[in-house]
């Protein structure tokens, strides 16, 4: 089975990565990391490979520096990766991102399954996987928390729809987005790290794609545009209690316990 797993480089400054032992932020002087949700996608891909055999390739769309997340993926055990990179791809919204990935995955070809993380920590939309499936005109299973069965022809997975899971079967090729419940991502092995160092990642640029019209990619191919961005402004509060906060809090908790909100 040939599996593609989509990974993204995201800024690390939203305090999402914590060293659980020391309680400090993992920075390593790096400002960008692999999207934490994508680690679960990589893990899922590796588990499926262990079950049915085959190969796993990581795809990332971004600047040259995004190669780092391909290295991370190979260190975890992925067989290889492609860097989807071209100035024409920059500034893509969900629609254009899914279009680009769909063209890139089709260019490499032969994939039975495409796996994405449920969302990214920077874009936070959770919509790329199904948009990708729709661009590729194949089935998409969203928010998968377990792959129940997979063979050459079909995949059966449990999809999280809030109050229930829907055990859904569809034909391959298909795209799935995986949730965090699907299994803890593995730590890269020493051997994995060594092969990641040696790995060479082909670059897929606009010229490689079937649709070479640069108006269909990046900012130009996006259907949404950012009118403006602004920092939320907070005025100074008059309600700050510096002294006697503990007594205030004790009183509040006691009255709530008595049923008085």
């Amino acid at each position: 089975m040939k599996i593609a797993v989509c990974v993204k480089q995201v800024p690390s400054d939203n305090k999402s990565l914590m060293d659980k032992k020391s309680g400090t932020l993992i920075r390593n002087g790096e400002t960008s990391v692999i999207n934490p949700y994508d680690l679960f996608a990589v893990e899922m891909a590796l588990r499926i490979r262990e079950r049915v055999g085959g190969e796993v390739f990581a795809f990332t769309m971004g600047a040259g520096s995004a190669k780092k997340v391909l290295i991370d993926s190979v260190a975890m055990g992925v067989d290889g990766g492609y860097l989807v990179s071209d100035l024409a791809f920059a500034g893509a919204d969900v629609f254009a991102t899914a279009k680009t990935l769909s063209e890139a995955i089709t260019f490499v070809g032969g994939f039975d399954l495409v796996i994405c993380g449920r969302q990214t920590t920077d874009g936070d939309t959770g919509e790329v996987a199904i948009a990708l499936a729709t661009h590729m005109n194949i089935c998409g299973l969203p928010f998968v928390n377990e792959v129940v069965e997979i063979d050459e022809k079909n995949i059966t997975a449990s999809c999280d729809f809030g109050k229930h899971n829907a055990i859904t079967k569809c034909p391959l090729p298909a795209v799935i987005s995986v949730d965090k419940d699907c299994g803890l991502p593995r730590i890269p092995s020493l051997r994995g790290k060594l092969s990641a160092k040696k790995a060479v990642f082909p670059v897929i640029s606009l010229d490689d794609l079937f649709d070479k019209n640069n108006n269909n990619y990046g900012l130009s191919g996006s259907k949404t545009s950012v009118l403006r961005i602004y920092n939320t402004v907070f005025e100074t509060s008059n309600n700050i209690i510096k002294e006697g906060g503990l007594e205030f809090l004790k009183g509040k908790f006691e009255s709530v316990k008595k049923g008085d909100l």
Partner: protein, 388 residues
């Protein structure tokens, strides 16, 4: 192809663009900014530039006749045979937007066993109903293609969908089929002077707000989470019901089984919440807050950081990528208050924040901000509750 361009006559070489960039996409070289391939067109530098020296060049204006599209359509999601809360909330917002535009409000429902009486008074002008056994279980291609054909016929200018997992599955499907834009998890929706929908949401990790437009395609599709908008039902409106034939499509999907989840107490409906944030770093530190919550009959919830660190389950995350809550009372321990988190607490009546940092965002929006060490405070409050 789009590029960022600098007007050197306006540039004062202050370097603010370089500092504002989260992606190291711009560097000052020979006094002026040079953009490299790290640039993601997030426009932070454009906003930050004090002299408006940076502009986007090379964006082709696409011709699209938006005047053929009119009305605000709401996807009506049915849960346990009744209209979901988020659908009702969206109807209220749709009416407000439609009034500004002097246009109509449409509902669309695709399901099995639909209660038409409820739909007649749900507050929309027209409901398009596609009913049939084939829709009993959610199958993306059946629902999506039926919805797509309804949208192509009705041509609504705006399409609002609840940001449930079902909504988040339908929207990208419809958006790609209609070749239009989608904006996820909006926290505010407005109409600009040209009649376009301004879709506002936290962006880039949640500390910045972005205003997003879908100018050159229709419908303008936005998803909104539950509890972001209030329910305002317009009971005077009697909706016209228009039945739509489902398309004759054989689904590629086969739903083998529906597994009801164990009922986890839902934080979005809890009256009392104790929220913990980045101030909490280790699993063993959580216990005291759980005990406090138990003492007062509240539920424990958290900001995103703890969920991503694996310390709290996703179902207990408050915020843009978690749940919006509407508690009467929330105690927020060690939460800084990013826009991402604040997007979820708009419905909280009284917010009491406990934080060591008096300058944390949360302190300014909280009804009471208490400057204190969260661990010492929580331990002492717990002790005093148990003494009595």
């Amino acid at each position: 192809m789009a590029i960022l361009s600098v007007d050197n006559s306006k540039c004062i070489s202050c370097g603010i663009c370089e500092k504002s960039c989260k992606f190291q996409g711009v560097k000052i070289e020979n006094k002026y900014p040079i953009f490299n391939d790290n640039c993601t067109f997030c426009f932070e530098c454009i906003t930050a530039c004090p002299t408006s020296a940076i502009t986007v060049l090379g964006l082709e204006k696409k011709e699209f006749d938006t005047t053929l599209w009119s009305g605000v359509m709401v996807y009506l999601e049915i849960k346990d045979n009744i209209l979901s809360e988020v659908s009702k909330e969206l109807i209220g917002k749709a009416r407000e937007l439609a009034n500004t535009l002097s246009e109509k409000v449409f509902g669309v429902v695709i399901n099995h066993n639909i209660n038409l009486e409820e739909l007649k008074t749900c507050g929309v002008d027209t409901v398009f109903v596609a009913e049939g056994e084939q829709f009993a279980d959610f199958k993306l291609d059946l629902v999506g293609d039926c919805l797509h054909s309804i949208i192509e016929k009705v041509k609504p200018s705006i399409f609002l969908v609840g940001a449930t997992n079902q909504g988040k599955t339908i929207v990208p499907y419809i958006s790609v089929k209609c070749e239009t834009g989608m904006t996820a998890d909006c926290t505010s929706l407005e109409i600009d002077k040209n009649g376009n929908l301004i879709q506002i949401r936290p962006a880039f990790g949640g500390n910045i707000m972005a205003e997003i437009l879908t100018e050159n395609s229709r419908p303008q599709i936005a998803t909104v989470r539950e509890k972001i908008f209030k329910i305002t039902v317009d009971v005077k409106t009697q909706a016209e019901i228009v039945k739509v034939q489902g398309l004759e499509v054989v689904s590629k999907y086969d739903v083998l089984k529906i597994v009801k989840k164990a009922v986890d107490s839902d934080i979005s409906h809890a009256k009392i919440l104790i929220a913990i944030g980045n101030g909490v770093k280790k699993k063993e530190e959580i216990a005291v807050f759980q005990k406090l919550a138990d003492e007062i009959g509240g539920e424990l919830c958290s900001s995103r950081a703890l969920v991503e660190a694996g310390l709290m389950p996703q179902s207990r995350q408050v915020g843009l990528s978690g749940k919006a809550v509407s508690a009467d009372l929330m105690f927020a321990f060690g939460i800084s208050g990013s826009a991402q988190f604040l997007a979820g607490v708009g419905g909280v009546k009284t917010l009491i924040a406990i934080n060591a940092d008096p300058d944390a965002n949360i302190m300014t929006i909280a009804n009471h901000g208490i400057v204190a060490d969260i661990f010492q405070t929580s331990a002492e409050v717990l002790l005093s509750l148990r003494k009595k």
